[in-house]
Each structure stands twice: as structure tokens, then as C-alpha cells.
């Protein structure tokens, strides 16, 4: 292996990783981001968690797709004295 490296022959695993990263970035955008809700969910939770205590098991993020308009509904409980829940829709 050392000799091969010395001769400039690359390990194949890093090549595989690079090819996959490029391919999957492309494919995820084609499939219309079926995982968009999951990604939004994680990022929204991270932002909210910076400021309030939330119960991660009690969170619903729902996307309704329309022709001209889609809605995103985030429903979560914020743990606070009194335990108020907020619902956001946009």
C-alpha cells in the first residue's frame, strides 16, 4: 500500500465518497426533496431549542402541497411554567 501511495495510486474509498456526495446532492433535488419536511423540522427545532425548552417527542411538522401554494404547519409544546403551546403556520 505504501508503495502504491508512493507511486501516486489513490485509495478508492475517498473517490467513492466524493462521487456519492455529488450524486446524492443531485438526486435529492430531483426527487423534489421528499425529505424537505425532515430537514426543515430539524433546523426549526434547533432554532427554537436555543431559546425555549421543547419536548422533541411532541412535535408535529406537516406540509400540505397545493398547486400554487403550500402550507407548512409546525405544532409543538414549549415547556414553561404553565406549559403553553404555540402553533405556527406559514
Amino acid at each position: 500500500m505504501k508503495l502504491l501511495k508512493f507511486l501516486g495510486v489513490r485509495d478508492s474509498a475517498p473517490v467513492a465518497r466524493e462521487r456519492l456526495q455529488i450524486l446524492l446532492a443531485h438526486e435529492r433535488s430531483l426527487v423534489g426533496r421528499s425529505d424537505l419536511v425532515a430537514i426543515l423540522r430539524e433546523e426549526i427545532l434547533q432554532v427554537i431549542a436555543k431559546h425555549c425548552a421543547i419536548d422533541r417527542d411532541n412535535v408535529r411538522v406537516k406540509m400540505a402541497k397545493g398547486d400554487t401554494l403550500s402550507t407548512l404547519e409546525v405544532d409543538l409544546e414549549i415547556r414553561a411554567p404553565g406549559g403553553a403551546g404555540i402553533a405556527l403556520a406559514s
Binding site: M1, D11, A16, E27, D75
Partner: protein
Amino acid sequence: MSQVVVVTSGKGGVGKTTSTAAIGAALAQSGQNVVVVDFDVGLRNLDLILGAERRVVYDLVNVIQGHANLSQALIRDKRCETLYLLPASQTRDKDALTEEGVFRVIEELRQRFDWVICDSPAGIERGAQLAMRHADLAIIVTNPEVSSVRDSDRIIGLLDSKTVKAERGEWMEKLLLLTRYDSARAQRGDMLKTEDVLEILSIPLLGIIPESQDVLRASNVGAPVTLNNPASAPAKAYMDAARRLRGESLDVTIPRDKKSLMGMLFGRKAA
């Protein structure tokens, strides 16, 4: 509370059935009530891996079509009394499973078992989607190899859109089970690294199962590897994965084999 788990991959032959049997048995060996359900209609194999092929009388399709009830179809393992199998049928009719029927059976299994583990067929079509439909948690079986990782990515997209949980806007938990991990190839730098697969798929790791003769031996004699040879490396890796499923936090060890360590010491042919 019972957990419905789907063992899925997209790509065929990566180790879903082997893993379903091994993790199901490992959970049952620790006293949990477990049923493993074969969703691979037309190509059933879980019965063979569990050594129950001669005991199959009724199957999932019979139950769904009302020709048998669940108790008639369930097969209790001879070695481990809290482990049950619900076999798939060998029918070639692809539409034998109905969405409503699958829902009913899963709900009934939830009442009886702590764990309902569904062995998915390969692919991303109807059969695979029915197997994942009612899951609370998904185990994504992946080999450290480009086509398997790509297919796992597709399956993750489906889990986040086509399952009941996803449709309700709930979080679908997904865990990566890296199987057929070959430490000699890893050392040569010819196998995708665990970190790379984790980074690309961005889901947590449930375990790493080494490529091993013990898996083949176990399937030859019809026993999950965790029952057939509990001291073997793959059995230990599966048992650790089962403990993590139960909520224990254990470090994942990356399998190394002695041969390749020797190879490093004494030099190897540059393959």
C-alpha cells in the same frame, strides 16, 4: 409499549433478512416478546433463516384475507420461546397484501408483542412501502459500498414521506446498520469509511456487523447467528445493536480482524 420496526434497504442482498432474524432473536433472548414478520411476499426466506420452513401452515396473506387467524399463522421458535415468526406467502400475486389488511395485522401484533420487526423486500415499490408503512422506527441496512448507500438514501426519502408517521407530521426515527463490514478492505482504503457513510446519510449508527463465515454457517443450519454462535463477532455485534434498540448507550466498536493486523505487521501483497 410496543415498537414496530422495519428493516429495509432499497438494495437487495445486503443483509435485511439476516439482520431481522439476528436482532429479533437477540431481543427475544433478553426476555422481550418478539415477532418477526416476513413482508417478502413471493420470495419468503425468513422461515428458512429461522429453521422454521417445515412448520409453515398459514401465512401473512392468509391472515389478511381472513382464511386464518393470527394464532394459527404464528410460529413459535423452538429454541427461544419468546420469539415468533409470521411467514410471508409464496403467492405470485403482488396485490395479495392490502394496505388496510396490513394495518389490521400490525395493530393486532402490537397488542401481543413488545417488538414487531418487519423484514422488507428489496426495492422501493409497493412491497417495500407496505412493510414500512406503519413503522415507528426504521433500521436501514447498508453495505459500505456506493450502490447500497445510494439506495439507502432513496429509502430514507420514502420513510420521510410515505409512512403513516411522516404523513402525520411526526418524526420517523431511522438508524443505520452497517453490515458485511470487511476490515481487511477497510485497512486497504478500498471501502467507504463508517464516518463517510454516516455523514452522507446523516442518520445515527445502530451497529456495525462484520463480514463473517459465522453468518453463513448459521443460515446453513437454520438458526439466527445470535442463537447459533453467541460468542462469534457478528452475534456480539447484533446483540449490542439489540441493546441499543432497547435504549442502552454502548459505544460502537469498529470490527478489526486479526488477519489484517498480522498483514500489517508482516507486510501484504499489494492487491
